[in-house]
């Protein structure tokens, strides 16, 4: 039995065309033209380098040697593979199409499961992050976001808004205090960070017609805090980014599209959070016997300033539900006690002076 194979001696880059056959307890490598022996490899020293999945032709070698035998002819590979030591030489090559289909399907299932896990984890596990850690993250993010901005220092105004915020938080059974920071200037916005850090822009207070509108926005933000939205959102975002990073190999050029997809998911998530925060905010105000009509009136005011509903026109790209929908959902009669006293509201109006 002989057939074409190539032999590399491991010392030089010479190639010798050889044949190979089994001897007693050894593999004999010989020159086919004169049957002179090139090498004799003991059976127990034989190794197959690689496998048929990755290597076009798995190489045969002996332990601790750089020499190689490349069995080019398939018939000879089959012949040599009859002996257990070289069985891997002729192992069946995995069929590409069924393998790709099977692995592709498994990947889809796994990705779906991962999304499910991120969803579950962010909803149920993220709030278990200790308050101390959440507060640390929130404080750092706040400091970073507000670096260089002027903060409003009016003691009475800050006390008024912080007192109301903490009363609402207690009503919502939030287990820790909250703190409101007011930044001078715009935009007309407010947001909540992990650990109960709330940030208001003074332009929002300036544009509010009365204390109830500010109280409505504040109750909405406390709604985010009570429902642990900031930490849930962060966990979800992190999970989705991690998955995208893994699937795309983390290549920087893909970051843009990757973050585009995760942004879409985050925004859908954002809309659900906004609806929940609206509902919770209204519930907290009503529970304390405070006027709860401020939130919808504030939205109406926003609509008057911007008749084309940005959220509606942007559709899926908006992180907020359409304003009209929010107005309808939060519409309440002007009944109940005012959230701020006259004096408190006045102090709040001049908090940045």
């Amino acid at each position: 039995m002989a057939g074409p194979a190539r032999y590399y001696d491991g010392i030089t880059a010479s190639v010798t065309e050889v044949g190979a056959k089994w001897g007693i307890g050894e593999l004999i490598i010989y020159r086919p033209d004169d049957f002179s022996i090139v090498a004799r490899w003991r059976l127990e020293d034989l190794v197959v380098l690689g496998d048929t999945e990755h290597e076009a032709v798995p190489l045969v070698s002996v332990a601790g040697s750089d020499a190689r035998l490349v069995v080019v002819e398939p018939a000879l590979r089959t012949e040599l593979a009859r002996v257990a030591y070289l069985a891997a030489l002729d192992a069946p090559r995995p069929k590409a199409a069924p393998r790709v289909l099977k692995l592709g399907a498994a990947l889809v299932v796994l990705v779906a499961a991962f999304f499910g896990l991120v969803d579950y984890g962010s909803e149920y596990a993220a709030p278990l992050v200790p308050y101390r850690l959440q507060a640390k993250v929130g404080r750092e993010v706040r400091d970073e976001l507000l670096a260089g901005r002027t903060l409003c220092k009016g003691t009475e105004g800050l006390k008024a808004i912080n007192d109301l915020a903490n009363r609402l938080a207690r009503t919502g059974e939030l287990g820790h205090p909250v703190g409101v920071t007011i930044v001078k200037g715009g935009p007309v916005n407010a947001f909540t960070l992990p650990g109960g850090y709330l940030v208001f822009y003074s332009e929002l207070i300036d544009q509010a017609k009365d204390g109830e509108q500010v109280a409505g926005v504040l109750a909405h933000e406390i709604g985010h805090a009570v429902n642990e939205h900031p930490i849930k959102g962060m966990a979800r975002q992190y999970g989705i980014n991690l998955l995208l990073g893994l699937l795309t190999g983390g290549y920087s050029d893909l970051g843009t599209l990757g973050s585009g997809s995760s942004l879409l998911l985050a925004l859908r998530n954002g809309r659900a959070f906004e609806r929940e925060a609206d509902a919770t905010g209204i519930r907290l105000l009503e529970k304390r016997g405070l006027r709860a009509d401020g939130m919808s009136r504030f939205f109406e005011q926003l609509m008057q300033h911007e008749p084309a509903d940005t959220a509606l026109s942007l559709g899926i790209w908006s992180d907020h539900p359409p304003t009209a929908e929010r107005i309808a959902a939060t519409k309440r009669p002007p009944t109940g006690r005012p959230a701020f006293t006259e004096q408190e509201w006045k102090a709040l109006r001049s908090v940045c002076d």
């Binding site: 491991g10 010479s14 690689g50 990755h54 995995p94 790709v100 990705v111 983390g250 290549y251």
Partner: protein, 381 residues
Amino acid sequence: MTDTSAPPPALTPSRPVYDGKLGELYGIYLRHLLLMVLTLGWSRFWGRTRLRRYLWSHFSVLGDRFEYRGRGLELFIGFVLVLLILGLWAGLVWLVWHFSIERRAVPGFGVLDVFYISVAFIGFPLAFVGQYTGLRYRLSRTRWRGIRGAQAGSAWSYGAMATALNFANAMTGQLMTPLVSVNLARPRITGAAIGTQRFEFAGRAGDIYGRYIGYYFLNIAVWIAVIGLTATAFGIGGAKLGVDQAKITEIFTKPGLTTVLIIVIAFLVVSTLFGVLILPLRCWWQAYLFRYLVARVRAGPVLFATAIGTRHMWSFMVVNYLIVVMTLGLGWPWVMHRTLRLIANELWIYGVPDGAAIRQPPDKGPNYGEGLLDMFDVSGV
């Protein structure tokens, strides 16, 4: 005895052969992705190794296939070591922060900012060092005819030179590009070897400067034309639609559906002009540079040449990029497959090496690899 390494008539031409199959490559890649998700990315060292084994083994020169003998564990150790070094660096940054900066720091500027800035600062030169050490690792794990590859030379010198040249190039408006390309190619090529057979490089920046200057100014002219055409297109389009300055300000200060539409149209117009005018020019220069560099390389009696043209370079640079981006990374195996096919089709090898004269190198190469490359550079397979 038939010793095929005996030198036949000089300069016999041959081309490498790539016989990988895309389906098989995808089988390996999808398993790699599956494990990546399951292990949160920690399997990547082993996945990368499997992909290399497949690609190397299906690529042959003069009838002899390459062999990749690296191990995932080696890449893993390399990464962990760099992680540890980075940890030590973080500790050092914290000490400096705590004892000298903290009291004077502006609000909102924390120790993490100092750490990120310092890493970004050292990351740029370290990426070049990583590229060189990564090359050393890969070559030391690559075999042809059983003989290990090697990469001599100092990675730190290369890193310093690459940083300085790239900085100087940026400062001179990219006018030093030929100097950078040739001087960075030289250590990589002359340091490379198969066994004791070193590669040689005879390139000189002066040879390609004339053509580069032509390309440089043509490129500027084309950019001006593209910007002019874009502005004219929008001007005419805007005038026909009755869009004035006030309307534009309104569209962009109060975003709506129109804003999104305008951004999409602008993106399409600019990318079409960019794709039709600027990219072909760039591909033309890159193809020329590549042809030049390849033609100046030799390994003993073996010479190299390529007829790679603008069309090939377009396919390599633009189409591959689009494949990766459009498939969110799932097109990577296709890109690797296309790239190796391109090399196999377009690289010409003249002559055969004297196999008996090429011996196994004494150095076995680094024990672990690519940690720096993994940390500071985007490294594919």
